[in-house]
């Protein structure tokens, strides 16, 4: 335990140093996130006006809480999984995956210490939480955060399942495309629309729409938890499967 804590604190210090090196970049990302939120709000406002007061079946506060959940959950998920997803294919391709397997931290512990995502994604967590504080009644705050946590777990599961094939095929690097897709698809809640195309294009981020249904009391949180468990099980199976086919020579 002491070893792992030491490792974690060293990783944290290293990433703060890295943040300092790229501080201009970080500042631009923060401005980008703020502008993203402004654009989302303008989008919501315009659609709200155009649709005569309802947005795909949701009221304006519900819509804002959707943005809150999706920002907080994606911030939490990317803070955890970003590093391993980002580096897995490079590590395999360069033949360094052996070190990941031989060193004491297990594969899932790697998610925390490898290129710590929280350095980049803390603004999502902060702004998402603020949006939830504003739109959800105080008594429901713990439930809202629990829902966001489960949605984050689902996103981690999705990202893992999509990125794990890199262990077998080192050039498999879906991170950028996946991120772009999820960024676009999480723009609107689709839980109450019957439009097939919307469901289809939002497939990877349906959990945010489902989380909003949980928050509005139309769906049980146990369904979200079940989805998360299934995804982790799938990720675990994929990990076992791809580790079997991994050979120490770089892919």
């Amino acid at each position: 335990m002491h070893y792992h804590l030491t490792l974690l604190s060293r990783a944290f210090r290293l990433h703060l140093l890295r943040w300092s090196r790229y501080r201009a970049d970080v500042a631009v990302w923060i401005v980008t996130i703020v502008i993203t939120i402004a654009i989302n709000l303008t989008f919501a406002y315009s659609m709200f006006q155009a649709s005569g007061g309802m947005f795909f079946g949701y009221t304006f506060p519900e819509l804002l809480s959707f943005f809150g959940v999706s920002l907080l959950a994606t911030g939490l998920a990317q803070s955890t999984v970003h590093g391993s997803v980002l580096n897995l294919s490079k590590v395999v391709w360069s033949g360094n995956f052996d070190f990941w397997l031989l060193q004491p931290p297990g594969f899932f512990w790697r998610m925390l210490i490898e290129d710590m995502g929280v350095v980049w994604f803390w603004p999502q967590c902060v702004i998402g939480a603020i949006l939830l504080f504003f739109t959800i009644p105080v008594v429901h705050w713990p439930f809202a955060f629990l829902t966001s946590l489960v949605a984050a777990a689902i996103e981690i599961g999705v990202m893992l399942c999509v990125s794990l094939p890199a262990i077998r095929w080192g050039l498999w690097s879906p991170e950028e495309g996946m991120w772009e897709y999820m960024e676009n698809a999480r723009l609107m809640p689709i839980g109450r629309t019957r439009n097939f195309m919307l469901w289809f294009v939002s497939f990877g981020v349906l959990h945010y729409s489902l989380a909003l249904e949980v928050l509005t009391g139309r769906l049980s949180i146990f369904l979200l938890i079940l989805i998360a468990i299934v995804l982790y099980l799938l990720a675990w199976l994929l990990l076992k499967l791809f580790l079997r086919s991994y050979s120490s020579a770089s892919s």
């Binding site: 790229y22 201009a24 970049d25 631009v28 990302w29 401005v31 980008t32 502008i35 993203t36 654009i39 303008t42 989008f43 406002y45 315009s46 659609m47 006006q49 155009a50 723009l187 195309m197």
Partner: protein, 205 residues
């Protein structure tokens, strides 16, 4: 509305030209020097990269259009031949605007270490005001007037409407706007290139 978003999706694919990323890597790693010493101008190198990327992006673009034909008939309008002609008229310069924006952001790598964040910031803003998320007519009035001052209106929203409503939408103003923006963006890219080279030290970092 579905047709609008499918066409917008097709055009927006060309935001992925990603020349800025290549340029940033070349400056960051110091490999730009190799290209400067070759017997062809850097403009030719950049143009060949951008053209190759555009050709590659036409493959997913074609698939997107086919999905439109399959899922949203009559796509893109009741007069598809006229739509095709309108598209041929307005798409090339629209795509050129995306290429030039990517080049301009790439030139910024002479001053900053990474350009991905700047690219995200600039494209996010410009694409929103270009009509990627919403048809511009749905935006509040003051935002619509702001979008008149920005380039991607001529690369996203207006070309899309010209394709959806061929014959009803005058092409000349779109064409003139695109030419003006292409010239202006080319001048900015050239200026940044000249200024940037003065402080490029060929060792990377």
């Amino acid at each position: 509305m579905t047709t609008y978003y499918i066409i917008v999706f097709f055009i927006s694919l060309f935001a992925e030209i990603n020349f800025h990323y290549e340029m940033s890597s070349m400056v960051y790693q110091g490999t730009l020097s190799q290209w400067l010493m070759r017997p062809l101008s850097f403009f030719e190198t950049a143009a060949s990269f951008i053209l190759a990327k555009i050709l590659l992006l036409f493959i997913p673009g074609f698939i997107v259009l086919m999905i439109g034909v399959w899922l949203a008939p009559p796509f893109p309008s009741t007069t598809p031949f006229l739509s095709l002609l309108s598209g041929i008229a307005v798409f090339p310069l629209a795509i050129a605007i995306f290429g030039l924006l990517s080049a301009i952001i790439g030139m910024l790598s002479f001053w900053v270490m990474r350009t991905e964040s700047i690219f995200a910031l600039i494209m996010l803003t410009l694409e929103f005001f270009g009509g990627r998320l919403l048809p511009l007519s749905l935006l509040p009035g003051w935002l619509q007037s702001l979008s008149n001052l920005l380039p991607l209106r001529f690369a996203i929203s207006l070309p899309t409407e010209a394709v959806i409503s061929p014959g009803q939408f005058p092409l000349a103003p779109i064409f003139i706007g695109q030419i003006i923006w292409c010239v202006l963006l080319s001048c900015i890219a050239y200026f940044l290139w000249k200024k940037g080279l003065q402080q490029y030290d060929a060792v990377g970092g």
